[in-house]
Each structure stands twice: as C-alpha cells, then as structure tokens.
Subunit: 468 residues, 3 copies
C-alpha cells in the first residue's frame, strides 16, 4: 500500500465513495486561499532555504511536540528553547530520530495525515516514517531543502497558493510585507491586524505597547479618542499592504458596549495599571465592539478566536515560556457574551465577523443559531484540536442544519508549518466532499447542488467572508 491512499477520508460505502470521488476531482486542483495562519513573512521576504528537517517539522510545531511530551519526552530533548537560555538539544538528526521513534503515537491523528502528505507530496519521500527509516528520510528531506525549488517562494508557487495571510502584531513595522511587495515576486502574502498586545490590559507591557502605538501613528494614545484613532490608522496601514482582516484571541467571547465616557474611564484605569481582573476583561470586551465598529467603517473582516486557556502548566511556562503546547480549551459562552456587540452591529449587512471556538458543545446550541440569523456573523472552520477529519465532520453535522453552509467561511489552515498547507487543505476538501456525498447519497441534495457547494466551500465562501 502506498503511504497515501488515493481514497483517504472518503466514505467506505461504494456508492457514496464514488460520489465523493467525483466531487473531489472537481475541486482537488482549486487554488489555495489561506486567509488565516501563522507563517512568517520573513520566509517570503528573504526566500532563504528552510533549516534542517527537525527545525522545519518538529521544533516549531506544537501538535508534534505536545504528543511526544505526553509520553514523557522532555521539551529540552526536542530542542525547544528555554527561557533561561539553558541547554537544549541542538542536533537536528537526534531530534528527528526521537520524532520518528515515536511516530506511532500519531496513528489516527491529523498530524499523521499532514506529515505523511508533506513527506510524500512535497518532498517525494516514498518510505513510511518510523525508527528504521528516520535517518534516510532525514537525509532525503535535508537534501531537498538545499535545492532552489524548495525555497519558500518556489514552494508557495508550487502549492498553488493564491493568497496567504500572516498574523501580525499591531506594533509590527510590516517590513517583511513591504519587502515582499518591493521584490517584484508575484506571490500574494498579506498581513492580518492582531492587536492583542495593545488591547489586552493583562498582556505583558500593555502601557508601553499603547505608548508605542502612539509613536507609530502620531496619535495621543493616552486619551481614549486618540487611542481609537491610532487603531484606525494602523488598520489603514495594514490595509495598504493588502490586509483584509483583523484577528482577536481572547480567553472568552465577552463583549461590552459602554457609553463613550465610561469606556474612556475604563481605558484610563487599564492604562494606569489599576484594572482588576474584571475590569481588564471588560476592557477586552469593549474593544471587540470597537473593532467591530471600525470594521463597519473600513470593511475589514473581524475574526474572534475565543476560549483558549493559555499556558496551563505553570512549570512549563516558567521553563519554556508561551505557546509550548500547553494551551487548553475551556468552556465558552457566546450567547450572552456576544449580545452587546450584536446589539450594536449584528444587523449590519456588510459586516463580517468570523467566529471560532474550542468548545464543540456550542456548535449546535449557540454558534449555528446565532450565525443562522445575524447577518454580520459567519462561522469559522473547526479550529486547532478540531482541524481534523472527525472534527470537521462533526462541525458540518452540528451546524449545517441550522446555519447551512452559506453562513460558514470555508477553510483556514491556521498553521506555521508551511509544508503542511497543501495537506491541510487536502484533508478539508476531502472531508467536505465526504460530507456532501452523504447528503447526496441519502437524497437530501442533488449532485448538481453538491458540486456547487463543494466549490463554495473550497473558494467561494472564503473569498466572500474575507473579501479576497
């Protein structure tokens, strides 16, 4: 058996599988639209070769290192840097062997699908990864990485990426994005406005960040009105480099809609470092509504990624810092939380707010009913732990009957693992076709409709949700 089954993720039943195959054949080659992710724009600005296989696949990928950690492999043995600068593994081959030796852990997980696909389709590896093939595959991939056709821009073109959005701090100088534009290379890489550092009063260095925002924009960010105007200018600067969206990652979906003077007072309290937990949370909530209002003005799509409890392990946070695989979902309410924002702007027909969740229990209870009636809302694809075959199928089954597909926003790969982008879109397209095939097979829709829907899920809905 080849490593990649050509019918992978299609229904087992023959008639339904045939329908899925037919639907997939028509969209398999569609361009990749990647409106949300975490690739580094520096890759495309500089177009330097990627580092060795371990540093490309393992060290930066929390999907991978969290699974190895769960079975007792220390983060230090995987080359994950320490806050104190202490020793961690530096030998890429040693890290790769650890990964290959534990590759069975990923059986049944999406990581397995992504890595197999990247090795086979991007790097032309024909063997299955495992302890016995670790060295040979390391050498094979390392060899490829040294070749010009495996540099970032060449892969971008080979992958058929029509547009790739990065995620950029509000204070970013966007130099890499400017460099890409100036380079004459035709790849469309665009920034996304992610202002957590200047919106969240509990973010490290918040007051300093707000002051820096003032310097960047020439606004008096010590005043509420100046602070809002600074956001407007930064959003405009991002748009000038192609941005069509903003992104907001809060622990809850809480929103507020305070009167201007109350908001101004709250802002002052936060800026002076005097906000308690409740006030900080209220301010984040107020800013979601402010960002939504600015989106009504400037047409930027607003993304809300709510519900992650960041850095769950105290000891790991102390030793290795943020984003080391210890972010854990938590129960999240949207119905009460979003009401202030929705009362303010939810009926705006041109506004686009894309909602994401890590709490699947809200798909049918909260998100589908909300997106199925408020014109401003669209449902983002299954996020993070749920960006997986079963997760996507549950999402469709739990939201499709109430919100339909036309209130959803297509797929996001949401990754910093550049070589997995084709794999992730491949999985999403296959699962969508498998779902649609089921609807055709049991007579809920016709084949002509399924074809249209497959195209919409792959490109149409993405273009419209993100104005691409």
């Amino acid at each position: 058996m080849p490593v990649l089954d050509p019918d992978r993720l299609f229904p087992a039943e023959a008639r339904t599988r045939d329908i899925a195959r037919t639907l997939f054949a028509a969209i398999e080659g569609a361009p990749i639209l990647s409106p949300h992710g975490h690739c580094d724009p520096a890759w495309f600005a500089g177009n330097a070769a990627f580092p060795d296989p371990a540093r490309l696949f393992v060290v930066p990928d929390h999907y991978i290192f969290r699974m190895l950690v769960s079975q007792g492999v220390p983060l230090t043995a995987l080359g994950v840097p320490r806050v104190d600068g202490g020793e961690t593994e530096r030998d890429g081959r040693a890290i790769w062997r650890l990964f290959a030796g534990h590759y069975h852990l990923f059986r049944g997980t999406p990581t397995r699908l992504w890595v197999d696909h990247a090795l086979a389709e991007v790097f032309g590896v024909s063997a299955a990864l495992g302890p016995d093939t670790a060295d040979a595959i390391f050498d094979e991939v390392a060899d490829r990485l040294a070749q010009p056709e495996f540099r970032p821009r060449a892969l971008f073109d080979r992958f058929g990426i029509e547009v790739l959005a990065t995620t950029d701090d509000a204070l970013s100088d966007l130099a890499h994005h400017e460099a890409i534009r100036a380079s004459g290379w035709g790849g469309r890489v665009i920034p996304t406005y992610r202002p957590d550092a200047v919106i969240d009063p509990e973010y490290e260095g918040f007051a300093g960040n707000v002051a820096a925002l003032g310097r960047l924009t020439g606004c008096d960010t010590a005043s509420w009105e100046g602070y809002l105007e600074a956001h407007r200018r930064r959003r405009a600067a991002f748009r000038a480099l192609g941005a069509t969206a903003t992104d907001h990652g809060h622990a809850s979906a809480r929103t507020e809609n305070l009167a201007p003077d109350a908001a101004a007072r709250l802002f002052r309290t936060c800026l002076q470092g005097e906000a308690g937990t409740g006030e900080a949370d209220a301010f984040r909530g107020q800013m979601l509504t402010e960002m939504a209002r600015m989106s009504v003005e400037d047409g930027m799509t607003m993304q809300i990624h709510a519900g992650s409890r960041r850095n769950h392990s105290g000891p790991v946070m102390a030793m290795h810092g943020r984003d080391k695989g210890f972010d854990i979902p938590q129960r999240t309410d949207y119905v009460a939380a979003l009401k202030p924002l929705l009362d303010a702007v939810g009926m705006e027909p041109e506004l686009r707010i894309v909602l994401f969740t890590l709490d699947e229990s809200v798909y049918s209870r909260e998100l589908a009913p909300l997106a199925g009636v408020y014109p401003a809302l669209r449902l983002g694809p299954p996020w993070w732990f749920f960006d997986s075959p079963e997760g996507m199928m549950r999402f469709r089954r739990l939201t499709g009957e109430t919100a339909g597909i036309y209130n959803t926003a297509g797929f996001n790969d949401d990754t910093r693992a550049f070589c997995s982008i084709p794999a992730r879109h491949d999985v999403a397209r296959r699962v969508d076709c498998a779902w649609l095939a089921g609807l055709v097979a049991d007579g809920r829709i016709g084949m002509d409709e399924a074809r249209e829907m497959a195209a919409e899920l792959t490109t149409g809905l993405v273009r419209r949700a993100y104005r691409l």
Copy 2:
C-alpha cells in the same frame, strides 16, 4: 431525479437501507398524532381558504425568514410586521420571489425537506423551487389554495391526522375549540394549557393577567389558594374541550418546592410587582412544581420546554417584537434544577412529565440518566433547531442506551406551518427507521423487535405519553 428521493434519509449501505425500507413501509401510512404544536384553531373553526403562498409558507415561519435575514435580507422585505405599524412588503409574489431566490441557502437543512415535501406532496408541484420557477410555483400553489380540497379541514383529513393539539393561553376563551366541537366536523383538534402569561412574573401585564384569570374562573386570584384553584378550574375547562396536556416554556428548568406559606408570600411579592429577577425565577420554579402536583391530581401530561433565551436582538425586538427568529438556545442544567420537583412527585407512577431541551450536551449527561430512572419522566423529541435528521439521530444515539425508547414520547411536529405537518412526520419516521435499521444490521436487536419499536415510536409511545 424527482424532487423527493423515495429512499431519502435512509442509510446508504444496501443491506441496512433494505431494512429501513421494510420498517418504513409498515409505518409510513400510520395516522398522524400531533400532541404539541402551534396551529391556529381558527383555521378549523372557520375553514376559510389559506392566504397566498408567501403568507402561508414564508411570513409566519421563523425557520425560513431567519435564514434569509442571516444573509442580509431585511425582515421588512419579507412582510414581517413592524411594532410601529410601519411599512413592510405587502406583495406576496415579491416575498415569494425573494424566498425562491435564496432557496439554495436551505441546502442540507430540514426546511428544505419540509418545503420540498409540502410543494410536491400537498400541492402536486413537480418542479424544483428556485429563481426560475418562482412565479410558476407561486401561481400553481395559489391556484390550489383557492380550491375547496385545500381548505384546512380537507387537508386535515387528507393528511390522516388523528389528533392535533394546539397551544392556548390560559386566558383564552377557547371559542374556536368550542366552535370546532359544535360544527359537527369530525376532526379532533384539542387545546393545550399554556399558562406562561399568568405564571411568569416578568411576562407583560402579569398582575392584570392574574386578575383576568380570577374573573374567568370566579376565584380570588389575589390569594395564593385562590390563584391555585383558578388554575385547577382552567385546567378543567381545557380538559372539557379535550385537552390532555399542559405546556411550560421557561428560560431555565429551575424548580422549587417551597412550604405553602413561603410560596404564598412569594406570590404576593410577584403580584405587587416587587419581585427581583431571582424571586421571579423562583416563582416560575415553584409553579412548575405546583403544575406537576395538579397533573398528579387531574392526569394532564406536563411538558417543559426549557432553555430558550428569547428575543436575543434588542433592535429586532424593538422593531418587530417577539418570535422573530432571534430566540437562541443557552446552556441549561436539569440535574440540580429539577431536583425539588422530582423529590416532590418524581416517583409518581402515573404522572407524565415530558422534557425538552435546546442544549444537546444534556442528552446523555442529564436527561437520559434522569428519564432512565424516574417513573414520572419522559423525553420529548428533539426540539426546534434539532428537529432535523442529524438532530434526531444524535438524540437516539445519545439517549437510547441509557433511557431506551420506552422513556421517550414519540414525535412532535411543534409547528405553525400546517402544510409541513406530513413532511415533518415523514422525516421523523424515516430517521427512526434508519436508526433502527442500524441496530438490526449490527445485531443489537432482531427484525421483529425493530418492527414493534417502529410502531411504538410512531404511535404507541405518543398515545401513552399524552394519554391520547
């Protein structure tokens, strides 16, 4: 392909589909029992022709207009009345064209199944609805509606409805029900006692409603005992016109079981308009237990529809009023909430309390374990957003292993869309047969048992849960 696939909603796998077909053939023609819904008794009292297709299908159906609104169609363009009496679309054909032009939004939703079925089976329309066929289908349906065999009573008979329960305010004079009885027509249309307006202290005009209840019954409803007695008399008046059930729609499932003097004090506080949010909620909870006690006395089945946050959008509520598609489910607890009521009457072997939820996470965690042990409890069918093929299948899979089917109550169409009643029962029967076919196919039950269970799910359980 015909618009309606004769095998729709059956499993794709051939052997399982054959089992489903066999099971369905035996119950497809069973009479329709509709123990809970929102049809207007005036239709059957007056037997006037239904209005034009748009006013029959679109304007009153929140499933339909909420989906169009979600894609930016204003409620006013759909003819939904305004609170201020302002202009809204009056041309039925224009509304119908809007609906037909957006019909693709319903792909994969139950609304699509219901509308297709009603057009094809009730009105004999052979074309698929869409922008190109909008006018022709409008004319075809309008033409039929003018014919005597499409009047309410004729359709009632044609649909094979054995009994249809409406939902009636406690203060209703029930004149239409009396008129139906007096008319000599044989259709069994019965009322349901729905006392929210005289039980919920936060209902508009609560105190006046309670006073009106006193006038209607000749009881002193200013006293707690008189108020309870008034309920008893109204329930008796409903029963005299055939009612077998009551219905209660609260935001939570909270119940209370206060000592009589504490309950009397709380009632007084509510009546004087001095109840805070907590006291109003406690009073609603107390009244659920009182209603349950009266059900032990008079044998009426009690329905609890909990967990809807009504009128989520402030602006829509202000412009169009209640019930305009902006009711959103919220997380709902049953385990702690129902304990006071269940401690009071949960072990009564003849009491029937039918529980409904909009929070699917409670099916397996709370509702099935409760209904699987308390003799008074039965599980109502999937409600509202979950009255759908996927929703029904999840309900069976999530409750069937703990509560079995004999602690469930069969199907409710719960609709005000009269022409969709056959479609809704058709969907429910097909999904039940699909689920049973799966149990037969993998050896969990025998074919003889599945036949018995299909009949129970279609009629037997309904008759017993509602004493019909």
Copy 3:
C-alpha cells in the same frame, strides 16, 4: 437468528466489516485484564455457589433495576432492601418474572448485550429472554448455579481472567484478599485503595473513620503528618496484597495544592466537624494532590472518577439508601480543577493518573487536550452510562485525534455483575475493532498498524497504565 449475532457491533458495510472481523479474530481470545471493578473478594475467598438468578442478575445491578423503576416498577418489588428493614420481595422467581416481563425495555441498551451474552455464553441458554421463557430460563440458570463449574473460581478460570482488581475501603481488613492468597488457588485477585471514607469530610462518620485509620496503622491521625503517614502505610499494606492502584470518587475534579501548614489547618477544621461545604471540598481537592504525590513515591496508579451527583432522589435515599440507581452525572470541569495537581506533579514521567468522566462534552474540549500533553495523565475508558457501543465509539472519535490511543488506558469493566465480565470485554473489543476498521477503510492507518493498536487497546495499554 441466534440470540447472539457473530458479527454484532461490526460496521454494516461489507469491506469495513471484514476488516473488523479480521482484527477481532486476533484479540477475541486475549486474556481479560480487569484493573477496576466492584466484584466482592469474598466470592473468591469462600468460593460458595452464587445465589438464585434474580439475586445474581437483578437485585444488585443498578443498570437493570433503574430501567424497571423508570417504568413504574417499585424497588420493593425487585427485592431491593429497605433502610427500615421493611418488607420487600423475597421470591427470586417473582423478581425474575418481573425482569423478563420488562426485558423489552432494554432494546438498544448495553444491558441487553450483557445479559444475552451471559445467558448464552456463560449459562448455555439458547432461548431469548422474555415473559414466555422466564420460568424455563430461571430454572436452567438456577440449575447451573448449583454445579461446581459455576462457582466463582471456576468461572474466573473459564472467563480467562488474568487479573481482577476489586475496590476496597481504606479501612478494610483485606481478610478476603489474604484468604485468597493463602488458599493456594492461582487466580490473581487484587485490592484497590479507595479512601473516600477517610478523605471526604462529608462522608458519614469521617472523624471516626480517621481515628480508625490511626488504630489500624499505629499513626497519630489527629495530626496532619500522622494522617498522611497512615495513608502511606495503608497503601503499602494494599500493595503487599498485590494492589497497583488507588481510586477516588469525588463529585468534582477539584484539586488544591496548599502549603503544608494551611493544609494542616484545613485538616484540623475538617476533623473537628467545623468544615463548611467549601472547606470540605477544598480538603478533598488537597487530598487528590497528596494522593498523587504518594503515587509518585510508591508507583501506584491513581484513578479519578469525578462528576457523579450521588443519591439524587431524596425519597429513594430515605427509603433504600445509597447506590440505588439514582446517581446522576453533572457538568464537570477539569481544566481549572486539575491545574493545582498538574502544576505539582503533572510533568512526572512515571506517574499514572487515569481520568474518568460522566460529562462527554469534556472529551474533546478538556480531557483529550490535557492527556495529549501532560505525561502523568491517561484517559480511562467510557464510564458507567457511557460503557456502551455508542458511548465507546464517541469516546474514540472525540479523543483519538488529539490524544491518540497511547494516552488512553484500555478497558475497565467496572462491574459488580461477575457473569457479565466476558460480555463487557467482548463489547469493548468489538467496538474498538469497529473503530479501527473504519480508520483502515478510509486510509488513515494501515492494517498492520490496526493489528498492533487492537492488541494495545486490549492488553498492552492496560498493563502499562496499571503496571500489571
């Protein structure tokens, strides 16, 4: 059709079913490892014949009597003892007839699978249970129970049980376990340390229990240090008789990690009976962390069964006491609740904490993400109401993509119904093979991998999670 379909619980689709059959054939005969359950060690110490069929199958089995109660059968008619010693049914045949007469209630439930399997495979009964066969089957089973090959030890050997863990109070003298060891019989029956009675300040007689713990161990359990040392000694005594695990059944998963002096003060408050609800809960939480620390020291696997609201019905508790089928799951948080414990010991690579839940909404949101990163955590199998075909399939689908299978702990039968043990393991093995067959059929894993995974799920993971 025979009562037991040889392909039961396998996928209906032919190709996938063939894969499931092949996988199952290789593990069907594997030894039974039962690392958690509620069998009585006295059975194997004394090896007396089991009582009549009703007392073996019905009276002690809350799965069975709760379903009959839900349909109005009184507990007294089923022979369930009363707290006041009052009359309950004593005629085993009468109880059995009631059970057989209501056996249709179990259609589609796991109880049906277990009872059918036990009657057919353990007792050789060929007829289907029902009102007509009740007496004949009662006689047939009763006849078998009188034979020596149906005594506990003979059945233990026949069932192929390699190890069976019982659950034993911390204060137990373990005399039956000593007797089993002294008997020369080769069956491995081992105790499990379950210290609820000396850990939960709200347990009846807590202070007395703690004093008894002191007498048993020769420690001064009036002091915090002495109390902890007493636990260490009791754990050692359990280990000396083969124990490899502890078990903790709390209403929530709350943990605490107080400074020693704060913990000592809290202990004193609890011992003096002065702890409020919050303090009692905090103490239980502190003791989970203490138990985890002792597990790091002594290598015992720690099990946490959280989320059951015990004895929901006041009247049933008053009449019949604990454990009468009225324990109901409740919403349970793990992410915040476990943080103190995980910050203390979650990164210990040799520690094994097995988590169980009655709240399925946490599988994908909380448990899989936690177990997929913390080396100390493993996921226990679906518990109680979810120990069922659908429940197991949901568990795999909801956890497998994030935690994989290698962070799970294999199957527990968790039963006091000894004759159902082979049935329960049979169901679990079939469902695991059905799940794996689906992954093979749609190309997610290879057949060779599925074989390895099936063996791991059946025995490998159990041995490692419980150090058996």
